[in-house]
Amino acid sequence: MGANNSYPSVPRGLRDIMPIEAEERRQIEKKLRRVFESWGYREIITPTFELFENLASEAGKMMEDEMFKFFDRDGVLLALRPEMTTPIARAVSQRIENSCFSRLYYSASVFREEPPQRGQQREFQQIGLELIGGRSPAADAEVLAVLLESLQAVGLKDFQVGVGQIDFLQGFLETTGISSELIKEIQLLLVKKDLVGLERTIEDNSLSPEDKSKILEIISLRGRKDILEEAKKYTTNAKSCEALKNLSDLYEFLKLFDLEKFVIFDFGIIQNFDYYTGVIFEVYAPNMGFLLGSGGRYDLLLSEFGDNRPACGFALGLERLHICLNEQGALKKENCKKILVYSDVDIKKALMTAKTLRDMDFCVETVLEPSTLDACGSLVKEGRFKWVINADEAPEQIEIFDIEKNLKKISSLSVIEGELI
């Protein structure tokens, strides 16, 4: 190994992604891109860093402390993007004239000054999409359907997608007649997932005993389609009913795609209220203690950049997805068809043979010094090659070693294509 520890390594929370992992990651990414593109989404690439004030807009406030901030030579405060939704909202508002829909996807590194989590350090890759324009449940369903299709396309076997609706609880809280400060406090405790604090807070306040227990019951409502019926019993206010209608419409749309079986409705999914405005979803996988991805509707985000179009989207943590796929044994080894060519007598023969093979669309490495099969041993052991070829007598006679099958064949360059299958 070429370990040399006399040089400083990378900053805390960053790491090198070595070829084996990088190849696998690109494979996963490729499959996801294919699904996104089949739904008409197109890639958008935004700057790695932006004006801090844009990234820290009203909705991005929660990320303020987590951003890497710095000044440029003009003294302008900049920050590395901590997520992709806000930069895309900015780009769309500023650059795409009110076309009806914008379907955009991204696959990019984001940066957060946070304690490390599994599969998410200070720099990590997110892949996701935004559907801009369209407020109907069909839009929500599309985003959710692409998400579900994506998870299936990469071969993830064991996962759950929870779907909530922020307006349901919101509507209920508004009917209880409590102050907006108290609503804020309750929301904050829910976002922090502090049920003990929540119970204490609602205990200390002017809520009726009935409303108190209703709040606690609503946040543990979770199940299939029938839970929507169940939820109706809790309130009749317009906002909450609208939220339920939204979910049941969403369900019907998902049925068209035959995807409804993957969804669990969950009124306990509570995320930042200043950001999300409707449906909201989270992706879980067993043995991964953190969210694999999340998303939802955020109709007010674009308005911060002067555009009034609604939007819905999701993001997946690519590294986490990779870890889960690995653990679930869902990563298929791509058929290795790589060739190594060497020559003991004349490396020009090796180079020439390699060129011919590359012209036939093979991936070929050459040994750049006169070499024998034994001398190639360490390269071959890495398991990267299916065939090793001795080009000493090329082009008339070619020795082919099939590494997996441990076979030797003799052929000639003119008919070699038939041998390499």
């Binding site: 989590q117 759950q160 929870g162 997932k193 003990v196 119970e199 996988a285 043995n287 991964m288 203690g289």
Partner: protein, 217 residues
């Protein structure tokens, strides 16, 4: 094997935690006997116990290495891990207090006015920092690993922040409570994702605990 994994804090709470589990009908006999084991599987209850130091329990939970944990609120406040706080178990009660020497109580205020800073000794630096930030008081926080009450006596700090359950240790060292910062007790915590994936199992367990709690009242 898809058992519920529960991390228990091996410390002051441990005995009472076993008592509670016993009460709700869990088999804790093996937990009682062998105190050196770090992992224990009880097939009958379909539970795997993980025995960890109190300050490590929130980490196990945050990462999902365990689904549920029982640990003190004091540890949760100090470690600041992102976990789901499900239930107050109402035992192991104690309180974070700000304390100073009885005879120097007024002197502390004076020295704050004069020097603009107080020295505070504590084991819980995050709790201390959060408290003083909220109050807008400037402090120099001195981290100690034990016997914090010694600090004002030997002149290392003017004030301390520490846990107190009976107040006896404070009194023994001529310290008085200046402020109660937070009341603590044992809490049931869960990993966010486990809570969703093992919703039924965790809620079943939660219900059992709630029922007992009610009977206790």
């Amino acid at each position: 094997m898809n058992y519920l994994k529960i991390a228990l804090a091996k410390g002051a709470l441990f005995e009472e935690t076993l008592g509670l589990l016993d009460e709700v009908g869990m088999d804790v006999s093996e937990l009682k006997i062998d105190s050196r084991k770090l992992r224990l599987v009880v097939d009958k209850d379909k539970i795997e116990y993980i025995l960890a130091r109190p300050f490590d329990v929130p980490t196990f939970i945050e990462y999902g290495a365990a689904d549920l944990g029982i640990v003190g609120k004091d540890v949760l406040m100090e470690t600041k891990k992102k976990v789901f706080e499900l239930l107050d178990l109402n035992y192991g009660k104690c309180c974070f207090v700000l304390a100073a020497l009885r005879k120097e109580k007024n002197k502390v205020e004076e020295s704050y006015r004069y020097l603009g800073q107080i020295r505070v000794a504590t084991k819980y630096t995050n709790v201390a920092e959060d408290y003083f930030t909220e109050k807008g008081i400037q402090t120099e926080i001195i981290k100690l690993h034990g016997s914090v009450e010694l600090a004002p006596v030997v002149g290392l700090a003017e004030e301390i922040i520490d846990l107190s359950s009976t107040g006896k240790t404070l009194a023994d060292n001529n310290l008085v409570v200046l402020d109660e910062i937070a009341r603590c007790s044992a809490r049931l915590i869960a990993n966010h994702v486990s809570y969703k994936i093992k919703f039924k199992e965790i809620n079943g367990f939660l219900d059992k605990l709630k029922r007992t709690k009610r009977e206790l009242r």
